[in-house]
Symmetry: C2
Subunit: 393 residues, 2 copies
């Protein structure tokens, strides 16, 4: 019954990069792909039409947020998330696991599932691998993820193993539970293993051999240095089956996309491009610029010369600068459109480079020019993550 | 040199309602018309394309805000407000006078002009009838207004007369000063007179006989009861020249539009439709509804059955309800689009009823069905106005 297929169109001879095509009930996805995040059944500040225009082929939405508000049962009664939010392309929903650890007030983790308090109203919520399958069936997304446990960074090898092994048992239960629901939905497996290369390899082998048509790599980009993330991917990818699409959960920045494609990843999602846009951080080929900066006050050209996004084709950087200085809502839309188009054009460029055999050259040229956000900024993000973790304990 | 013309297409035989056509350098306006307000060179949360789609034919922008940020000279260097904000239709700019009284910290009013402190950074600003003509020339709007003095409600007859007479002298100075600038711009006169019928008549005669191609009625909708506003219009309109378009400044609500068209008004502007939308107040033929209300949680239909706005044609009321409950930015856009379309459809319906001779019937039917916002809400608005006035003294 599933209409899900994955075809590899080309592979890079000097890296693990591949270009592929995914078929889903709501359309085709060409990989590598970046998935804009629509946490609460909307990608913040943009419309479905604008998502199409920036080149979005699939979006990600958050089970945790939607189950709390407006509720998965309500979304089901509207014919599912696609019709509720009026996005007729493919949708991937995560399992809620990550948000339970990072946003919810975790009360009790047991073999059965996880008890936590809603961040909205403090109400008690209990999630199990089985209930998550029911909730995601109600949401009606094309690709669904099983409940998992995201170990913190840092954590002990013992904690890492326990979280991984319980995640594996939960994923087996998810596979069984899913049989009760919609056959047109595709359940991806999630690989965990924290920051232990041996655990990453073990998880890749265990989850890779279960009957999941695709795999998500979880537990990365949770505050660790980038070199650590790359090290984990280098341990993971060789142990993954070649024929299944690989989704790197919660990653990332433009430079992450370019790097991690070479480490064998096909699908990416992250709030970073939309979130930093709302704070004035806009991507260019040279790195992130702050549109609030006085240097844009009289800039008659676009945010970036040659950018094909709606914002750059129609508005001066000075006008965009004026809008954010005046805290006008139109800014958030125009900034978000720019960054999403940047990410989706980058994904398309990566794909084209893989197809014509020039990915290693593309990667080198991109990284030589693109100045990543400073370590200070990343450190702040890390602190935020730690603080969120501590609130739970 | 001016391309400004006004033609009366039809007049109601039972009221002072008229339907007309205004030509401007940036296009044609069919009256009666509602002008969305784009205070800071953007109509909050909507794009120029969306303004076209709701049926906007002309927008209003605020000289006071734009002179402070980003500055009229900067806008001039971008070829004027039309190209800066990418709205190629007609634009009317007010004179800044109203905002000086309501937002700025008034320091000194003299025959020469008005000294005030910017609400943004406290910097001293001095406006004169002459400098306002220069600033509006730099903005490049199609219709410009002269600096005026908006007397508070209530005020003594003596205060009312002094404010009116000084406004008249300032308008003569504005006419002279305007000669130095853009001949393609059209300067409207402003009728004042506070809440004294005799002063309103006098102002209408004095300003109506000066060489202004159009007239704005100022100083109303500043916290007075609606019956008081109607009384003033009944005193004003018969003293106005028939052949000039009449703009009622800062008005209003749907019911105001319907009433005041019958009192001879052709053009309207107000932040109310966009502002109340942002707070959840959405217009229907039965009155304003609060989309936050729990009764919309499962509403599968549109906000209003039969509404032709983009929001109602594409989204359920439940989804719009979800967006505002989740404080998602897309809400502000969808709500604003709905209310603006309501106002512009209402203006078009009023015009059609005048053209086919059914305006009195239309008015009666509309007002019989439409439940206006409660007096409590209006009282709160009045208090807000008074508080703003008091902060200045």
């Amino acid at each position: 019954m599933s209409q899900f297929t994955f075809t590899i169109d080309a592979e890079c001879s000097e890296s693990w990069a591949r270009a592929g095509t995914i078929q889903t009930p709501h359309g085709t996805i060409q990989t590598p792909i970046f998935m804009p995040v629509g946490t609460q059944a909307t990608v913040k500040s943009v419309s479905p039409e604008e998502l199409r225009e920036v080149g979005a082929q699939i979006i990600l939405s958050n089970t945790y947020h939607l189950m709390l508000r407006p509720g998965s049962e309500l979304i089901d009664s509207f014919g599912g998330l696609h019709s509720f939010m009026r996005w007729d392309g493919p949708i991937l929903t995560d399992s809620g696991g990550f948000q339970v650890w990072s946003l919810g007030h975790l009360r009790k983790l047991s073999e059965e599932g996880v008890l936590f308090k809603s961040h909205l109203d403090g109400s008690p919520q209990f999630l199990t691998p089985e209930s998550v399958m029911r909730i995601e069936a109600e949401l009606g997304s094309d690709i669904i993820l099983p409940l998992d446990i995201c170990a913190p960074f840092p954590c002990t090898p013992k904690e890492a193993r326990e979280a991984m092994e319980r995640t594996h048992r939960w994923e087996e239960r998810a596979l069984v539970a899913k049989e009760r629901y919609r056959p047109e939905q595709t359940l991806f497996g999630i690989v965990q293993g924290a920051f232990e290369p041996e655990l990453r390899q073990e998880s890749a082998r265990v989850i890779g051999s279960m009957p999941f048509p695709g795999l998500s790599i979880g537990g990365l980009s949770v505050g660790e240095p980038k070199t650590k993330m790359w090290e984990m991917l280098r341990a993971t990818t060789p142990a993954l089956p070649r024929e299944k699409p690989r989704h790197l959960l919660g990653v990332g920045s433009p430079e992450d996309l370019v790097e991690c494609v070479g480490l064998g990843m096909d699908m990416f999602d992250c709030v970073l491009p939309t979130r930093v846009a709302r704070h004035g951080g806009l991507f260019t080929r040279d790195g992130r610029v702050n549109i609030k900066s006085a240097r844009f006050k009289r800039a008659t050209g676009p945010i970036e010369e040659g950018c094909d996004c709606h914002t750059c084709r129609n508005y001066s950087a000075a006008y965009v600068h004026h809008l954010i200085r005046a805290e006008e809502q139109l800014y958030y839309r125009l900034g978000t459109i720019h960054n999403l188009r940047f990410m989706l054009r980058l994904a398309a460029d990566l794909r084209a480079s893989i197809l014509d055999g020039s990915y290693p050259v593309f990667r080198e040229a991109f990284l030589a020019r693109y100045q990543p956000a400073s370590e200070t900024v990343r450190e702040q993000q890390r602190e935020k993550w730690k603080a969120a973790r501590e609130r739970q304990s």
